[in-house]
Symmetry: C2
Subunit: 412 residues, 2 copies
């Protein structure tokens, strides 16, 4: 693979040159020059920034985009989403994942923390297209003991198969996973050294049902079972009190905040201000396309900001905090040596067009980036030292779109 | 001007051809054909839809994008926004308006209801670029009697000068405009047949101060003065009770809802559900770029939906209602014979790329349009029978950007 030389790009406000050799940034400086065999990218009027980390999604559900909207959670799930999913084949999951991956590249997300069935199909699509991800294999008691053990075997088979893709165990939620299965999932996660990814305290109903069944809230129940630790990523975490936030902090649990999904499904208000003040590790995720209905982390980060400011005041979640939640906390939590444009780091980056109309004027790049611009300002995407998008063109784009369209005709 | 022939475009789910002659749609049908001198647009894999109407903005404030964020309303206004505005020249307003107009075209907004100083500069930019708008001249007592009368003269001079641009009188708000000036503004609006555009009940402080000063809320005070009528567009209208909503409905006042601005400045929650149930005439606006920080009506409409669903339930504001608020109520309220793709109507339209990754799959176009896609899916923009954007290129784009960048250097 040829080295990449990014010429005259803006990094933290100054113009410089950047060299990528293999999958890492190897040189940064005004005085470095390109070799004749380097692939040269013109960085004029472009800023280089780290990519987004989507902390909770269901990539293959992109096939359900717009299939059912504007209805309460349970009829939505029971009458539309679950019956649709029951009909999805492994091939559908592959095709849906590719559509999701295309959308991620075009919106600057280079890592996604997924949770779904038939994870190996999403793994395959991710490996092929060149992104990073963590494939959470969903576990519920409904799978049955045989499938559960088969999935654990699959996990072992895939977990070290790619340098860019991790596997995770994803016990779905407290209302779909028994005490026994939670403990088994946590044990295997520990012995295999993989993350545990689950939904937690998303709705009031979930919390009330848990109290009724187990005599305590989901956070307290999982803590009592010994599940919670710094290998856990809990999605949503809307209905928690101060003591539960402290438990999550003490155990080192990372929290994936999904503002659009929580708003669209009317799940409740994430306690952004308290989480931030309390020092919880927070990330941002889009959730799946059936409750969002896209994977746009720029939009999602703006939503996280706006709902927080609306509820808690305009000074809550300033842009620097938002960048941590959506761009720089991810690499630390998922153990990826990236998240900074710095010599020695993995070469994951976005080039942002400073001549895009929404980047002008540019008193404050970060403010424009989070509050003003759209994904169209992302001109170039580099992941693991490979150019995945340039001038907003992704190589396999037309084929991915056309295959997704054909695939979905059967549901129209 | 050559006629336009749009070939094989999707209109309400069916493929058809559309002819535009002069500034109107003249023929629609599968069997119509292009003349040799027609400008032909290929509509394959594109849907044609009416444009957005931005019901409340301050276009020239695009020059203040990202100048100050993440702070409470009063220090933000006193220490940043007002001192900046005091330094703006007429030329700056022209340049800022052009930047705003470019952003509007690229995001599918063809009409904007503006409120600002030196309106003739925004008028000039709008006339040149080819959009529609309503230029609200801001009035406050601070202007002084002489300037106020001069502005009324300017209003008369400009009000019939363009077929695409209306003038309006914009008494700023109850806290900046005296009883005498409100009455004078309403009289001139009536005698000149123009709209009245003002901020109303945006913050709790505004309401409390009004009660203290006049013994009643802003809505009741303006109603007592006889200001409220069907020539009024009231922006924000956050802090109102049921009786006030009824007053506004009975008087025929149109309401411009600005969800992002209300959220970012922590102004409060718009009563979307009650407004909809009560039958109030609601429109959506972006407010200015200093409190948003863009003019993207697609994003704004999604915010309107999400904050409503979050507060009132997932079934509130289904996509059809959202389309009315952001696309089809506008033409009726501003008296423009547009808002539908129909023979005889003014030829204002957007062509949306159905192969954009966020438009796939397309079970429900409107759901994708409002909840999933971004402005990049808008391929072509036609206003008043003129192509203003094609393949996402606007003719004067580079010059507008470069001039805005130069202009803002003095504030960096």
């Amino acid at each position: 693979m040829a080295n990449i030389f990014i010429k005259g790009v803006t990094l933290d406000g100054s113009v410089t040159n950047i060299k990528i050799a293999g999958n890492r940034f190897t040189e940064i400086g005004r005085d470095i020059t390109a070799s004749s065999e380097d692939v040269v990218i013109d960085g004029a009027d472009k800023a280089i920034v780290p990519p987004f980390y989507n902390a909770h999604t269901h990539a293959a559900m992109t096939l359900l985009r717009g299939y059912a909207d504007d209805m309460p959670l349970f009829p939505w799930l029971n009458d539309y989403i679950w019956p649709f999913e029951a009909k999805m084949t492994e091939e559908d999951i592959y095709i849906g994942s590719r559509l999701a991956l295309l959308e991620m590249i075009k919106s600057g997300t280079l890592f996604f923390n997924d949770m779904y069935w038939d994870t190996h199909e999403t793994w395959r699509a991710t490996e092929e297209i060149g992104l990073r991800g963590c494939m959470g294999m969903t576990f519920t008691d409904n799978l049955g003991e045989k499938q559960i053990e088969k999935n654990f075997e699959l996990l072992k088979e895939y977990k070290d198969k790619s340098s860019r893709i991790q596997m995770a165990i994803a016990p779905h939620a407290v209302y779909t996973v028994s005490e026994k299965l939670w403990i088994r999932c946590a044990e295997v996660a520990k012995s295999e050294g993989v993350l545990l990814h689950f939904h937690l305290s998303e709705t009031e109903k979930e919390v009330n049902d848990c109290i009724e069944q187990y005599g305590m809230t989901p956070v307290r129940w999982l803590d009592k079972l010994g599940i919670l630790g710094d290998n856990c990523i809990a999605a949503h975490v809307v209905h928690v009190d101060q003591e539960e936030m402290q438990i999550l902090k003490d155990r080192g649990v990372a929290i994936a905040h999904n503002p659009v999904s929580n708003m669209k499904l009317s799940s409740g208000y994430f306690k952004s201000k308290q989480m931030d003040m309390n020092g919880n590790k927070v990330l941002i995720g889009t959730d799946g396309c059936s409750s969002n209905n896209n994977l746009d982390m720029l939009e999602e980060t703006k939503f996280a900001a706006m709902i927080a400011k609306c509820n808690y005041g305009p000074e809550v979640l300033p842009v620097q905090t938002l960048l941590q939640w959506s761009q720089t906390n991810g690499p630390k939590i998922f153990g990826i040596d990236a998240g900074e444009i710095k010599v020695g780091k993995l070469a994951d980056a976005l080039l942002v067009d400073l001549n895009n109309e929404r980047m002008v004027p540019c008193y404050n790049f970060t403010s424009n980036w989070i509050y003003a611009t759209g994904t169209e300002a992302i001109d170039t995407v580099i992941c693991d030292g490979r150019i995945l998008m340039q001038n907003r063109k992704v190589e396999s784009e037309e084929e991915i779109i056309s295959r997704a369209k054909s695939c979905c005709r059967k549901w129209m």
